[in-house]
């Protein structure tokens, strides 16, 4: 059947056809669509897990118990799962286990750019690297086979330009399930020192066998054309080479770890000039240095930053530096009617130091809002709040999204309560995982399969973690929110404020836009400082509102001190739109 699949979807389709029975993940661009695609199959048990560590462990256990299983995440998600990852090479699997990780060179939607190939070497787990969606589809069943033949997890590394490229693929549509029996085997599955030492011995022997496989397999293939110029490349870089140098010889690495030493030496001796083309870290480059292949020319180190593009190839071959282009693209901005905006307006007026976290609300850091002052990784809305407030004293606030809080905020809150930290943490509860496209999480009461489940009550959870106060408020009541934050900051206690209002991408009902009274406008433009895409300055310096995109949230109305923006008569001053939840 002809399908038009992204790399994410293709790896999922390939895994499904190869008899995948269980999959677990936490949303993260550009890997989200792997699990979203798998969740649609009635005969796959697919879950959004609480975080990547949990996802990895549940999926690995399912494989050990005999069902072909899959974990997927973005590169920084794998960091959260490093603990189980590093020892999973020791225990091995039973039924096949695939670890799909999507890197984000160029940092389109991440907090850093790291190269997961390094992690495969560090964790001693073989890695496959497809270059396009077709290969994603083809490599998934191969990965399961390697996993079972060698009793090891197998990593499949994607990058943004593989994960989010779509290609037409003719799929088989068949499905073969071969379940394995689970046997109690303490020496294999109980990693205490004696067992772990013996497993490490076995692992090193296994890696030598995997290196032989890597030399043998057609995943690593030599394409001999003109011998005057040769390239070694993996992933999407291979396609850029083929695009720009179609007549060159290429060693394409579909399995970069363990590195195919023999094949690399053979290829290097067969070409006159040799170039390495790879995104991010000098992974292949270092392997060639280890092998003493001196003729291989690597990219200038400036190309380790950002993603490659086909037009960069001639500069890489010439050994020149990368030309850093000034970013000219439009910056993203919180949507019209976004409840996060109201919280940032309140925080800005309080001049609070704000520890932020990862989600749409990180956009609160951008001017003119500028009301979020740190963002490192998942959970730091709570832990940076903790560290900041211990060092700075009062007027420190932490902000963290609902999904992020469940992912990594809970332990930080327990820590803050245990160590008697004082201050305010605001949970920006828009009742979804918004940034990655509105996935459910435990506090939504829905599963990845779209079924209802037990709903995690954040209020009860926070109290159980040791918060002194838990308040729930509609963030659009900005003056009340401001007063509440101020009051709680003045108390010597640890407070949670749940600012609850649904994401505009899931709750699309809207109210009439405010009216503008030009006679009252003093052109102070405080209304524009709320940074809403629906309000703008007109050519004559007055204010215009886009009635099609405005949701009637009235945040701009509250910003105007002169009454130039007026709530429409369709709602009385105190009337709340019906869709907003009541304060508890």
């Amino acid at each position: 059947m002809m399908k038009f699949l992204s790399g994410d979807e293709a790896v999922a389709q390939g895994a499904y056809e190869a008899g995948l029975q269980f999959a677990a993940s936490y949303p993260g661009t550009p890997a989200t669509e792997v699990l979203e695609y798998l969740a649609k199959f009635a005969d796959v048990d697919a879950q959004w897990s609480v975080n990547e560590k949990v996802a990895f462990e549940v999926a690995l256990a399912s494989a050990i118990a005999g069902k072909r299983s899959l974990y997927s995440s973005k590169h920084v998600g794998l960091n959260v799962a490093m603990d189980p990852l590093m020892t999973s090479a020791y225990t091995g699997v039973n039924a096949g286990f695939i670890v799909v990780v999507a890197d984000d060179p160029g940092i389109h939607s991440s907090q850093n750019e790291q190269d997961t190939r390094i992690f495969s070497r560090a964790a001693k787990i073989p890695m496959l690297e497809p270059a396009n969606p077709l290969e994603c589809y083809q490599y998934a069943p191969i990965a399961f086979k390697i996993s079972e033949d060698f009793d090891t997890p197998v990593m499949i590394r994607l990058t943004t330009r593989v994960a989010h490229t779509k290609e037409n693929i003719s799929t088989a549509g068949t499905r073969n399930i071969a379940q394995r029996d689970f046997k109690i085997d303490a020496a294999k599955y109980v990693m205490v020192p004696g067992n772990a030492y013996r497993k490490h011995l076995a692992l090193e022997a296994k890696l030598l066998r995997l290196k032989e496989y890597s030399n043998r397999t057609l995943l690593n293939s030599i394409e001999l054309n003109r011998r005057s110029i040769g390239f070694i490349a993996s992933g999407v870089s291979y396609l850029y080479v083929k695009e720009m140098y179609p007549e060159a010889s290429v060693l394409k690495l579909g399995m970069p770890f363990p590195f195919p030493d023999k094949k690399a030496k053979e290829f290097a001796s067969g070409v006159k000039r040799l170039f390495v083309v790879e995104e991010l870290e000098p992974f292949i480059e270092e392997e060639l240095v280890r092998l003493g292949i001196r003729k291989a020319k690597a990219k200038d180190p400036s190309f380790r930053i950002g993603e490659l593009r086909p037009e960069f190839m001639p500069r890489i071959v010439a050994g020149k530096k990368k030309i850093e282009a000034e970013p000219t693209s439009r910056k993203p901005v919180l949507c019209p009617g976004c409840p996060h905006r109201a919280v940032f307006i309140a925080l800005k007026s309080l001049k609070a130091t704000v520890a932020g976290d990862i989600g749409c609300y990180t956009l609160g850091a951008l001017p003119p809002l500028g009301a979020l002052h740190s963002c490192l990784c998942m959970g730091t809305g709570v832990t940076f709040f903790d560290g900041f407030s211990r060092a700075l004293g009062n007027n420190v606030v932490g902000v963290i999204g609902d999904s992020t809080f469940v992912h990594s905020g809970i332990t930080g809150l327990v820590n803050a309560a245990y160590n008697r930290t004082k201050g305010v943490i605001i949970i920006l509860d828009n009742s979804t995982t918004a940034m990655t496209g509105s996935q459910p999480h435990p506090a939504t009461g829905m599963t990845a399969k779209g079924t209802q489940t037990k709903k995690l009550i954040l209020e009860d959870l926070c109290k159980a973690c040791g918060a002194d106060h838990v308040d729930v408020i509609d963030p659009f009541r900005i003056s009340e929110l401001k007063a509440l934050i101020k009051q709680r900051l003045n108390e010597a206690s640890l407070s949670i404020i749940i600012a609850r209002s649904p994401c505009r991408l899931i709750e699309r009902s809207r109210s009439e836009a405010p009216h503008f009274d030009a006679s009252k406008c003093k052109k102070c433009y405080q209304c524009l400082a709320v940074n809403c895409p629906a309000i703008f300055k007109t050519q004559d310096g007055l204010i215009g509102i886009n009635a099609q995109t405005c949701t009637g949230c009235d945040v701009c109305v509250s910003a105007c001190s002169f009454g130039a923006l007026i709530k429409p008569k369709s709602r009385s001053p105190d009337q709340k739109p019906e869709n907003r939840p009541q304060d508890l």
Binding site: F4, Y240, M244, P246, R330, L363, P533, Q548
Partner: protein, 173 residues
Amino acid sequence: MKRTVPKVLKRTVPKVLTTNVLFCGTGGQGVLSAAEVLSWAAIYDGYHVKKSEVHGMAQRGGSVESHVRFGARVYSPLIPEGTADYLVSFLKDESLRMRPMLRSRGVDLTTDLEKAHGTIEEKKFLNSYLLGVLSRHVPISEASWFLAIDTVFAKKNPQGNKDAFLRGRGEMK
């Protein structure tokens, strides 16, 4: 709504070569679904197609671009700079930024954007109108375009999109 006599279509790119179409605009304008329709139309016409774009944070009102390449066999998912055959822009500022992507004799369809805004009452059909304009240039059959619109807009008024497409194509007044 009457259809005029079909015009002879300009085929600026031979069928065996790769055709590169760059779409640009901002989140929520229909840029990505336009790229999806072109991709499906090319698939129905028997091409190998690659489409590349970025999801996530960029979609919150930020710049959106989608690269669509089709031909006998497509390698790079990204259009190499200076080789785009067509630039389909939903926003004038963005097309200025994207100009260097266009080859020297490439066609910038931004000129049709104003006309599109004047012709199309409902913003949601703007992308189909622009696809109609593009369809005058690229070697894809009308039947495949219609199939593609049915595929992508199955639940979103395919007939309205086809009408807008035909207006852009210049076959319907």
